[in-house]
């Protein structure tokens, strides 16, 4: 599959004292349609910085990031927004809007400053809500939605933009096991409908279950197949814990 996003020799740094502190160096990563990529690492290791770089919200400090073989910074922001959608860890509307107004924001890159939203936009919004099984939530106000419902509405917002790469920063953080399961099921279904997802998570179980590849940030940046990367030795070193294989409870959607 042709890569939509390509990272070549990417380094990411934050200012610290006299010079930069490198969070990621020499990262090579291809993101293609259908990919499910998890980004894991300890707090402060650079997961969000990497995701923001993938979403085009920050430039790489070294190396190259290309979207459809064009340098990320050469893209018009609105055109880029039609290809990549971004979900931050926390995003709350400042007024108590209905869910459908949040989803409609996803059409922003498609609508001119003075143009009306048309039938195509309304259809895209309705389709996006249907894809995350949230049609019934459309008229509900934000304050009345549960954490899981809010995340599904945010997913619908990303889908309404028609983007093919969805970048999500800890989409299951602060969700109970049931809501987390349903949000990840939605994400999983999206990869089967022509999209790629890249998500950060603190939950190793979530990464194991819902990704095909993993980027480990914080140990010199490892990229590989989930089964190869998520091994006790690496997890132990990465999070400074003892890790071993064992039995664990498995959660499934209700039948």
């Amino acid at each position: 599959m042709t890569a939509v996003l390509r990272l070549r020799g990417v380094g990411l740094a934050v200012p610290a004292g006299r010079g930069p502190r490198w969070l990621v160096r020499g990262l090579e990563l291809d993101v293609a349609v259908g990919d499910r990529i998890a980004v894991i690492g300890p707090s402060g290791a650079g997961k969000t910085t990497l995701l923001r770089t993938l979403a085009g919200l920050r430039a790489a400090d070294e190396g190259a990031v290309t979207l459809d073989d064009t340098a990320m910074d050469a893209w018009d922001p609105r055109a880029r927004a039609r290809r990549i959608a971004w979900l931050p860890q926390r995003a709350e509307p400042w007024s108590d809007v209905p869910a459908i107004a949040i989803v409609a924001l996803g059409r922003t890159p498609h609508v001119g400053a003075l143009a009306h939203r048309g039938a195509a936009d309304r259809t895209a919004v309705a389709d996006a809500l249907a894809q995350v099984d949230a049609t019934a939530l459309a008229e509900r106000r934000w304050s009345t939605l549960s954490g899981g419902e809010r995340q599904r509405i945010m997913l619908a917002r990303m889908l309404a933009s028609d983007a093919s790469v969805l970048v999500l920063d800890e989409p299951t953080a602060a969700l109970d096991v049931g809501h987390a399961l349903r949000v990840m099921q939605c994400c999983d279904a999206l990869t089967r409908s022509g999209r790629a997802i890249v998500f950060a998570t603190h939950d190793i179980d979530v990464a194991q279950r819902w990704s095909d590849r993993v980027v480990c940030v914080g140990d010199g940046t490892t990229v590989g197949a989930t089964a190869d990367v998520l091994v006790p030795e690496r997890i132990a070193a990465l999070f400074d814990v003892r890790a071993r294989w064992g039995l664990r409870m498995v959660f499934e959607p209700p039948t």
Binding site: A79, I84, I100, L105, T108
Partner: protein
Amino acid sequence: MSPARRWALGCAAVVLALAIAAIVVGPGDIGIADVFGAVGRGLIGQARADALTDAQVWLLRVPRAGVVILVGAALAGGGAITQGLFRNPLADPSVLGISLGAAFIAVIGLYLGLDRLGIWVTPVLAALGAAATLGLLLGLATRSTDTTTLLLAGVALGATFGAATTCVLALAGDRHELGIKVLRWLMGSFEGRSWAHLGAALVPIGAGLVLALPLARDLDALALGDDVAASLGVSPRAVQRRAVTAVALMVGGATAVAGVLGFLGLVVPHIVRWRLGSGHRALIPTSAMLGAAVLLAVDTLTRVGTVALPPGVITSLLGAPAFLWILLVRHRPGRSGRQHRPGEE
């Protein structure tokens, strides 16, 4: 017909009706037929300056009503933009000290006699004062997203500009004429506003409104924060720059021509958001029209009684309880009423 369109048409009709009432109400026996006759003659350049009715209607009351409409539209429209920009329903040009910042710089201009250079000087100075205050507040807002911090910062800035304005007045202690002029202006007044004032207000306020309308979608995109806005292809910094310019022109123009009028920019957008939702495409123009209608009603009321109260006093008397109501009752999750829907614009 969508609710937004119904509201727009309704507000336009109310503004027209109140404008006619504002021209009719006042000393002298002037009827609606006299108003239409004088306005018709005025429009074709045939107003008779020597005829009392024509002079009263065309030279005094029509420009006054025009100034009131512009100022009401500027303050309420500016309030709607300010609230979207700060993502805060309590952000209002008067609450955040923007109007007092505009007034302070304009008063310095009056003190130095700069207003004698031309009628455009005071609006320009007021716009610069409003822009500087907004810039300070935006700088604070990027450091702290806490509503209380922002409001307290606005209150502090307003108090500082108020005190600084008083200092300027104290320095001009022996210039009684200047002191009275400034005090009356600070209370908010439409007394003696002429075609020249209307022209001086029209340029900045019109420019501000023209700048503001294409901002509507971008202000909507800011609803979920700067990062999400940027991911939607909207540059938050560019929106801030354009919004600050638009609000500075609108509030600066309004303050320069009418003084400090409190709370209009807080209450009117809140009512419109309550009924029509948060979409700025409907919110900004509808707030502007409703603001014009409310200020026309206030100005007409001030001229009905035997004591002519300054309109700034009335807007503050009505607006302060409304501010408390929003703060204590409506500014809570789940209490924002009917909201914006895609396609309802």
